[in-house]
Symmetry: C2
Subunit: 158 residues, 2 copies
DNA sequence: GTCGCTGCAAAGTCTTTGCAGAGAG
DNA sequence: CTCTCTGCAAAGACTTTGCAGCGAC
């Protein structure tokens, strides 16, 4: 990718920081810090993919079979995290809603409409352009979300 | 907006053309042209919003109550149209899947989080940039959707 | 007339909720 | 101890499917 200032994002937030934020969030709302909630956050953090509630649940079951975490708890925790802007959800087609940690840096998504894979990128030129347009319209930009839909390299060659 | 090539989009495809394409599509696949299918296409065409199957069905029920179109037919027709790339489905956030005519694609939105106004625009420079990135990743771009959230001019001055 | 289409209702999926016992604070 | 959280199962929401009669061609 020679002339593009387009990058895969870095993990900009350490897990300890994330966990600490989560604990603060819970405390502020009179909620409890449970092993299930920690495991869900940790699994999201350690996954580089966008996870569906089901795939997240499967990962947790594999890694912590003795916990016997219920799918309902996964749904409940994801909703909690989403409300608090700690995770964001994306969804495409038949594959349902997918979640990722929102604390990771600002980025956009390519979504393959055939296999559902999501490729993340950050493009400084697009970000800059957005800022310019916002300024022209006298619009105070707070956040954005962008998805590009199409067919990925692998699916094209099939 | 002096130096920006940013424009409200046009309806680039006429309905008669669309309908004709649809009829050809049906004929080529040994399928039949029915009043329900026509009404679904027309309603999609006349709506400037992204419609859920349910909202599309409601619109049709309001406009053509005597047809008594079933929701199942709406789902079946949307699937058919999506498979044929005549409509695209997108979904973001907590809301479900939404459909729009593919021919109307490529547009972006500023959304004011205070008053809720939506300003729709197309920016050629961002489009160009997206094409470049897609090419780099060997990704066949079909559609995109972008939302910029913030506070509009009017709400800022209040 | 043939064969695909439609509405209906039933069946699948996916997600949320009620509940009683478990566990964090 | 208190009050939230959890797993379970049942309920709810959304989507698909089977079927018998209808309708495009």
């Amino acid at each position: 990718m020679p002339d593009l200032k387009t990058n895969f994002r870095d993990k900009t937030v350490e897990y300890t920081q994330l966990l600490s934020d989560f604990k603060i969030l819970l405390k502020e709302n009179g909620l409890k810090f449970t092993i299930q909630r920690e495991v869900i956050l940790e699994t999201l953090y350690n996954s580089n993919e966008h996870l569906t509630p089901e795939s997240l649940h499967n990962l947790i079951q594999e890694k912590f079979p003795n916990l016997n975490t219920g799918i309902a708890t996964v749904y409940r925790t994801l909703s909690l995290l989403e409300e608090s802007d700690m995770v964001t959800s994306l969804s495409f087609g038949a594959q349902g809603k997918k979640y990722e940690l929102g604390a990771k840096s600002h980025h956009d998504h390519f979504i393959c409409t055939v296999c559902g894979v999501i490729i993340e990128f950050v493009d400084e030129e697009i970000e800059e352009r957005q800022r310019k347009i916002a300024k022209e319209l006298d619009f105070e930009m707070r956040d954005h979300s962008m998805q590009i839909y199409g067919i990925c390299k692998n699916c094209k060659t099939k």
